[in-house]
Symmetry: C2
Subunit: 397 residues, 2 copies
């Protein structure tokens, strides 16, 4: 089967680019002496997670209980939720998974920790819990420099049913780009990586000095992760503590945002949207506009640092030749439209590819993606962990 | 079952609001003497389309062949693709559907029309084709005032395998809001509706005067459609021609964009995202921030005219009380975060609802949605026409 046989729009994964991306991040983990615990939110694919494991990944990271259920059912034995788990129903589902796999999750509030304790101790069980730390992103997690962090750690260590297993952060500020004129993109990634490592060490060293129970080098996890910050990661240690694991997700595919941030090249982008040119005409200013059958329902409205429009156009679909001046300027649900200054080298009925701005949300729009080698379709990969049906009794797997 | 029993995030449809929205648009169609041919892209639900039909809708509108296949399989006998259909594979699939239902589609280029003719005449068949007209949106469709429109109409009328059945437009400029300071939102919708009707009449009257075959009042479809423009729609006729059908889609649910445009009230918004508060803390400026388990993978990054942030927060989940000053300021994949000046009246573990910015893309993230009446869950509605699997042999139905 060839890509010309696939209905559009659909998602293609270039096998050779994917393989290179998997190998590169595994090599980073090994060079820095950390476990690679990849975040499966990006692909939600059991087959792809197995390839990550075969290449050396140790354990998986997930964001949701849905994802945890799919991957435990597929035989993965060590699943960490990089997410503050809140709600009795979620804890009950995780307890069922804990019969078959090592499950760990985050807390970032005393209220969340107390509810987790009630759920796990109430069931006569004990869970590995990581305190989520905010090292500068501003999302969930206790700010690294705030006294609340140690208060929460002591509470977790003291509560029945919980075991204080480590600290975890998502250094999402790596997606913000340079913060002042004297900093370039590569410098920004190095700064974020250095800050992340330094702030996580501050927390661990500080807690040990303060006598928080269980905080000892070796046994205590220091978990960080984002694809862009890995480009600047150096595993400096302090007082016996070191970063113990990294949790990037996007690196398997990369996308226009990673290229904008300087953490990937266009040739590292394994995921593309295959689309058909459905219309073409000159607009009132004389510019040639083109229209594709790929809109928000596949590319999504997502942007990101350094992106321009809704993805980068590759002409043609077989050779993946970029068309640098083309811009995909607008999307509606099932239409993408753009301009090519000087005229487009494609006609109605031709096919093009687009590197999306954000691979993770793009994959989430689909039930399956296609692994390809050039114009040959190798196999369909189901997006196993998306869209699970609840009360009508059909899982998404 | 109650909404407290549903895992979050998930989508709720308020039955009474839905019923009122269905009745209101049906009444508009009847008052204006047009067929309501609802666009099912918004809900992609067979059950919901049946309710539309029971209340008087005549035929369905779809954007994709996938959608056409699902609704024809469910017994709908008159399906129109409001989309320029390009590609031999699409025409072959439509021909199979044409054995069981009345299928019509759009063309907006001579190349597209010639390829459609080759596909249908080559199979010894004939298709009803509408020329897509652009009445000012700037997306697909031949501009209403351009000589290319008549050239295309003559070509469609002359080509074997095609029957020139009408003209169709999507007046998407209704989503742009006022275009000058002296215009308010309601005025903008009235202007767009008036322009749309007038420009479609210009085309039909002009083509008949020019002797384009088959352009006669009564038999010739004049199809318009967008939810906001329906708020200003008055079916003025000319020389025997009138608008024959409307194709709104979003009206079944409405959303924050419709409220911004003035085409719906908050109390008309039937679709909400049910979410759990997963974290809460004061940020460095002393403002209380809250974090929800609803991010881009359910709300999407979509914006829209008059929206602010990523949707409107309703506190609490049962009473749907709005929290006017709360803002959902940022989303990542599985997190939504925001601020409530003065402090949030909810705690970690509480549930809230959010009216999304754009209902159609929000529904597309899910495999099922829940019809509710207050806090009682009535039933699960499968999102039948999303995410169909291709070469792995599993349909999305």
């Amino acid at each position: 089967m060839f890509i010309d046989d696939l209905p559009t729009p659909c998602l293609l994964i270039e096998r050779r680019r994917l393989e290179a991306n998997l190998a590169r991040m595994q090599a980073t983990a090994e060079a820095q002496g950390v476990a690679l615990r990849p975040h499966v939110k990006t692909h939600k694919s059991v087959r792809l997670a197995r390839w990550q494991r075969e290449r050396g990944a140790r354990g998986l990271t997930v964001a949701t209980v849905d994802e945890a259920e799919v991957f435990v059912a597929a035989g993965f034995e060590d699943v960490r939720l990089a997410y503050p788990v809140v709600g009795a129903e979620r804890h009950a589902r995780l307890q069922r998974l804990a019969d078959r796999a090592r499950i760990s999750f985050c807390v970032d509030t005393v209220a969340g920790a107390e509810a987790a304790s009630a759920a796990w101790a109430g069931a006569g069980r004990r869970a590995d819990v990581l305190v989520e730390i905010d090292v500068g992103h501003g999302r969930t997690g206790v700010p690294w420099h705030h006294a609340d962090a140690e208060v929460l750690a002591r509470r977790v260590a003291a509560l029945p049913g919980l075991c204080l297993a480590g600290i975890l952060t998502h250094e999402g500020q790596a997606y913000h780009g340079p913060v002042h004129d004297a900093e370039d993109e590569a410098g920004a990634l190095r700064r974020v990586a250095r800050e992340t490592v330094g702030r996580m060490l501050d927390v661990a060293v500080g807690w040990r000095a303060a006598g928080v129970p269980g905080v000892e080098p070796g046994a205590f996890a220091l978990s960080i992760g984002s694809t862009p910050s890995m480009a600047g990661f150096e595993n400096a240690g302090r007082d016996g503590f070191r970063i113990t694991e990294i949790r990037p997700g996007n690196y398997v595919f990369n996308d226009a945002t990673q290229v904008g941030l300087g953490s990937a090249r266009w040739a590292d982008c394994a995921l593309t949207v295959l689309a058909t040119v459905i219309s073409k005409r000159r607009d009132p200013t004389g510019r040639e506009r083109f229209f594709l059958d790929a809109g928000k329902k596949v590319l999504t409205a997502d942007g990101g640092y350094g992106t321009d429009g809704y993805g980068r156009l590759l002409y043609n679909a077989r050779t993946m030749t970029p068309l640098p001046h083309a811009r995909l300027t607008a999307l509606s649900e099932e239409h993408g439209w753009g301009v090519v200054p000087g005229g487009a080298p494609f006609d109605v009925g031709d096919r093009v590819r687009i590197v999306p701005n954000h691979a993770c949300v793009t994959v989430h729009t689909q039930d399956e993606v296609y692994l390809v080698d050039g114009d040959t379709v190798i196999e369909a990969l189901p997006v196993d962990a998306r869209g699970r049906r609840r009360i009508s009794g059909r899982g998404g797997e």
